[in-house]
Amino acid sequence: MGRFLRQGLFFLAVVVAFYALAMLALARIRFQGHPLVYRTGSYYHLKGGIAYAKFKEFDHAAHYDVIVIGSSHAYRGYDPRVFAAHGLRMFNLGSSAQTPLNTYWLLKEYVTAANCGLLVIDLYEGAMINEGLESTSELVMNMTSDQAAIGMVTDLRDLRGLNLLALRWCRAGVGPDFVDSTYRSGGFAERTDSLRTPISRKLHSASPGRPEQLRFLGKCLELCKERGIRVVLVTHYYPQTSDRTAHRVFRVTIDSIRAPFEVPYLDLAYAHQLDDQNHFYDHNHLNLAGVRLFNEALIPLILKEDDAHQRSTD
């Protein structure tokens, strides 16, 4: 038995050594302008872009009146310039297809009661039906926190996460592969183009979301409660002509998760008069004109909700 275990450990050491060498080679050797590793699987995310710029800019020591977190709805839908016009310093920690699993680790490593006056978690059902690989890939490549990267990959329970971590470390000293010109500042990225075509489609099929993602949403709220972070849940504007069935199912699920934590939820998905063709740049993202109208309407609402919530808990 002892020999068997020794052989097993030696084999494991061989595998680790081979793996490190292979990953180093794939991360360093370039092919058609990019490291070779990007030809081995489509789940790898290039270093750079909105997420890279965002984490470079985020200041742990600063105090933000509002921090927004969530999927692309968050980083494309909440403009710090509009918040600043209302006297609020805001930072946007949203990322592509960010799932509650990712949100949980971002909150754990980046948000405290000291640096965040109010946390806005943007909820979108599309992010809830995702296993989290896409968002983890982008975040692991671009986040500044090793702990958050390791945590996300561990909770993802997918061997591909190991490759993402290895690639992160192999490319640690290397600069970004690209820059996203839509990035402004404070974590926000703007789009000014318009959809210009009518929408008549389902955003997603009716599903309450993946159980593990719903569990992580609960964990996010629990963490905020433990740390004394004030939270408002928000769902941002959806095109009026999109199918509403999936959102109704989603809302019921969210209500059941937030109830024990008594967290307010502003479901604004269809509570607006925006024009689908001129205020959205695709079937579910607001363009800059839409963002301004949305933010102007939202800011008084979240302040009111937060105020009411604070008074009720005092």
Binding site: M1, V14, T40, N163
Partner: protein
């Protein structure tokens, strides 16, 4: 439970294996039976009742056959066959039969209102039904004593490594081994683990990567042109081989770790130089089942020539239907039956002309035959993979009529990420080169020195992590 799931690799397999060796022999059958139930119930729990029915019927039938004489003996065997095939008919073939009868009625202008059954096909139903049937047939033939212990018989039908996708075991092999007190043997355990690793490589790195291309193209045949369709069909040939033989390797390896030797199900079938050789190397446990329990009882080749051909056709049509309740499978089986009949006809003509030689074919002739055989198999795979006959014929039509643009083939696989297609091509070609070597190594027909073994299997493990497709995709043969 899927072999390529976190639950199997990190919890089920290590736990069951450790407990198996910790427990005294007299309790091991119970552990394996409970583990097999857990394994099966991870899919659709209630379907364990169907398995329980099959086990009860065949357990009782075995005892009754052994105790009876003459026509009563035969009657019990028939009862067992009817019960087993009855379950198979209801769950697997009812909707197919019903839809075809409905079509017939409608084409005759008659109304037909019998509804389909809204049920899912129990996983691996055809596999365990055939395994259970082989037991009652063997007891009837006198080649196997009826098993008195119901738990042991249940374990024979439900042994988890081969429960849902074979190999279809025979009582003479598996039932006998259940009584042997297996010892911990590190050398054998290592061999088993190596075979499992090779199986995982085939499934995760080759089969599932190929599947991404195949599913895309076969899902929209009318969107793609000649070369892309042909490429997808080559990918499917590799996918189905790696998927099914990968499963078999994991099954054989997992059983070997505990000391059980299951039937070898594949022997590098794409290196066959004839269709009959292909069937002696592909899904061996099923082909030998049909040979022993259908082909030979029909008379085999000891009958007049036309009857011999008919026997072959019957066996392959039934084999096609065994795979699935769809005309595509029947056509697939029929094509293979026709290939064999044509080969026999040509061989007899060849012999008649006096040109037959006894010397071995040259290497060049051999590899030419391998190439021809592979492409004949490839033609039949189109029907196996296509969702219906119309799609299969459309695919052939488009291969023949649309332009073949070599420079643009990757671009034509539109909607696909290029990295997946070119990496898949590279890995698939590499696989074809290493498969014969690795197959011999995991079957212990070829040995590797310590350093080489670490290098080869270490590379496999790294390749799985780096290039594997994860997400617990099911195995193709589970649906049968």
């Amino acid at each position: 439970m899927l072999f390529n799931s976190f639950a199997f690799c990190c919890v089920f397999f290590p736990l069951v294996t450790v407990l198996y060796f910790v427990l005294p022999h007299r309790w091991r059958w119970l552990l394996l039976l409970l583990a097999s139930c857990w394994f099966y119930m991870a899919f659709v729990p209630v379907y364990i009742l169907i398995l329980a029915f099959t086990i009860l019927v065949d357990y009782a039938a075995g005892l009754l056959i052994e105790r009876s004489e003459g026509s009563r003996r035969k009657a019990w065997l028939i009862a067992s066959i009817v019960a087993n095939l009855g379950v198979l008919s209801v769950f697997k073939y009812w909707n197919f039969l019903n839809q075809n009868i409905g079509e017939l009625f409608r084409s005759a202008g008659l109304g037909y209102g019998v509804p389909d059954l809204g049920i899912l096909l129990p996983i691996g139903l055809s596999f365990h039904t055939f395994q259970s049937l082989s037991y009652t047939i063997e007891v009837y033939r006198g080649g196997q004593r009826a098993e008195r212990r119901p738990g042991i018989f249940a374990l024979y039908v439900m042994f988890y490594p081969q429960l849902v996708a074979g190999p279809i075991e025979r009582p003479a092999n598996l039932l006998r081994q259940l009584d042997i007190p297996m010892q911990w043997d590190p050398v054998r355990v290592v061999h088993g683990l190596k075979q499992m690793l090779w199986g995982f490589f085939k499934k995760l790195v080759i089969a599932d990567r190929c599947a991404a291309v195949v599913d895309q193209v076969y899902g929209q045949v009318d969107h793609y042109e000649g070369l892309s369709l042909l490429l997808a069909t080559y990918f499917f040939a590799i996918q189905i081989y790696c998927d099914f033989s990968g499963y078999a390797d994991i099954a054989l390896g997992a059983a070997k770790v505990m000391g059980f030797e299951l039937m070898v199900n594949f022997r590098t079938p794409y290196r066959s130089a004839s269709i009959s050789e292909f069937w002696s190397r592909w899904h061996i446990s099923l082909s030998s089942w049909f040979r022993d329990y259908l082909y030979i009882p029909l008379g085999g080749n000891r009958v007049v020539r036309w009857r011999w051909y008919m026997n072959l056709l019957i066996v392959f049509l039934v084999s096609g239907l065994w795979h699935g309740a769809n005309w595509t499978y029947v056509v697939w089986g029929g094509i293979h039956g026709l290939y064999l009949v044509m080969a026999l006809v040509l061989a007899s003509l060849w012999k008649g002309s006096g040109e037959a030689g006894s010397q071995r074919p040259s290497k060049l002739t051999h590899w030419f035959n391998v190439l021809i055989t592979f492409h004949l198999v490839l033609v039949a795979w189109v029907f196996f993979r296509a969702p219906d006959i119309g799609t299969a014929t459309l695919l052939f039509e488009r291969i023949a009529t649309t332009p073949w643009q070599f420079t643009d083939v990757l671009g034509r696989l539109k909607d696909m990420r290029t990295s997946e297609v070119d990496m898949t091509m590279l890995l698939a070609v590499l696989f074809l080169f290493i498969d014969p070597f690795m197959d011999a190594v995991v079957k212990q027909e070829r040995s590797l020195s310590g350093v080489r073994s670490y290098a080869v299997f270490g590379t496999l493990a790294v390749a799985i992590v780096l290039f594997g497709f994860f997400g617990s995709t099911s195995f193709i043969y589970f649906q049968f």
